[in-house]
């Protein structure tokens, strides 16, 4: 809190509310994962280097997320870093709290198991903590307008859109990636099903953002043809969702020993929810 203001105008009540909101967000967004059996088991057997990579990748994601949608008034990278570390800490805390609460973790367990389980769950929980603090909080319209990317440089705006899709894809993707259903579905599907899944994902992504006109301010102008948005936003969004699906599956050991074509089919299955998450994030965040 060095940059936030002097000691005198530091509002303890407000800070506590912020922390509580973050904790609530972590619970709200990560509870489905806390209660997933595969996630507990992954905590035992996940390759520690893959876990480390996941934990490290989460840091820039959180910092960028804090910078982009952030807690109340994030204007510097330093504040974004502060908020990201608070969110990571809250996520870890929420993860440990719930896992002990439901009896998955016990005091006499081996430390490496405990750390593994808590750490892996802390990733979605920390994203939830950041989202919770900004989305559950009451933001005034004026501060919203200030952050509207109208004033931002063009590259920033486009990069920002892609980043939101990353967040959305990570969020929905992480939720289902560890479950056995993902590989089971891919084994049940033929390659024609996979092609249909890819087409459906792209169509739904495009439809979500442009055809349904939810409140996200993505209406296309008269002189902007639909295929412009398809090439510039939807297809990159799908590639993002697909790449993140591959990464999640690799992290959770779902691709080990798998034939490349089969691996692509699993990724296409997971890319379906990830793509919808990516599209939804552009509307919601």
């Amino acid at each position: 809190m060095t940059k936030g203001g002097t000691r005198a105008d530091f509002d303890h009540g407000r800070f506590a509310t912020g922390l509580a909101r973050g904790f609530a967000g972590a619970l709200l967004f990560a509870l489905p994962m806390f209660l997933t059996m595969e996630m507990w088991e992954l905590g035992f057997y996940i390759d520690r280097s893959r876990l480390l990579i996941l934990l490290l990748v989460n840091i820039p994601l959180l910092v960028l997320l804090a910078r982009r949608i952030g807690f109340e008034n994030v204007s510097t990278w330093r504040e974004a870093l502060r908020d990201a570390s608070i969110a990571y800490c809250l996520g870890t805390g929420a993860s440990a709290f719930v896992l002990f609460l439901i009896g998955v973790l016990k005091i006499d367990q081996a430390l490496s198991e405990m750390f593994g389980i808590i750490a892996i769950q802390a990733v979605p929980a920390s994203i939830g903590a950041l989202l919770g603090r900004s989305e559950l909080g009451t933001q005034t319209e004026s501060s919203e307008d200030e952050k509207d990317p109208i004033g931002a440089t063009r590259g920033d705006g486009y990069g920002g859109e892609l980043f939101l899709m990353v967040v959305g894809a990570v969020f929905l993707g992480l939720n289902v990636a560890p479950t056995e259903e993902m590989i089971l579905i891919s084994f049940k599907m033929s390659l024609w099903h996979a092609l249909a899944a890819i087409s459906a994902s792209i169509l739904l992504m495009h439809g979500f953002v442009y055809a349904l006109s939810f409140t996200g301010g993505h209406e296309l102008g008269e002189d902007t043809p639909g295929w412009h948005a398809l090439i510039r936003f939807t297809l990159p969004g799908y590639i993002i969702a697909f790449a993140i699906s591959l990464y999640c599956l690799w992290t959770f050991h779902r691709l080990d020993g798998l034939d490349p074509t089969q691996a692509i089919v699993v990724a296409a299955v997971l890319a379906f929810p990830s793509a919808i998450g990516a599209a939804a994030a552009r509307l919601i965040l």
Partner: protein
């Protein structure tokens, strides 16, 4: 259209060349993806799983002899609940049978498992897949 599109909408601004470049690369990747799956969908058969077991390692342990094996499926369909049985025979009698089940052996992929024998399997064991179900 109750409200006109905002002038500042990112879609309606003149696109930077980077946006088109990203879009073009993405379109290419999607086409490769679809092309790859489409090619395999056309050329690939739909035959049943074809399972073969190869022994990876064999070592004595305190509780017995651990034999690690790979099950390879060269068929076009995935096998689920693959039962792998190991037998040790001396002369014409089977003196020990152990069994394990692998959850999945995906099409054209491998899965690894282990069997634990009480007797030394060296040179007189036979490990084979004995059954599976379709997922």
């Amino acid at each position: 259209m109750e409200k006109p599109p905002k002038a500042g909408n990112i879609e309606n601004r003149k696109a930077h060349w980077i946006e088109w470049a990203t879009g073009a690369v993405s379109a290419l990747l999607v086409m490769i993806l679809v092309g790859w799956i489409g090619y395999h969908a056309v050329t690939q058969g739909n035959g049943p799983p074809d399972l073969s077991v190869t022994i990876v390692s064999s070592a004595g342990r305190a509780q017995g002899y651990l034999v690690m094996f790979d099950v390879e499926n060269t068929g076009d369909r995935t096998a689920a609940t693959v039962v792998v049985r190991g037998e040790i025979s001396a002369k014409d009698d089977v003196i020990e049978t152990v069994e394990t089940t692998l959850d999945y052996v995906p099409a054209r992929s491998k899965a690894r498992g282990g069997l634990i024998f009480r007797n030394d399997p060296e040179g007189r064991s036979r490990i084979a897949a004995t059954g599976f179900s379709e997922p």
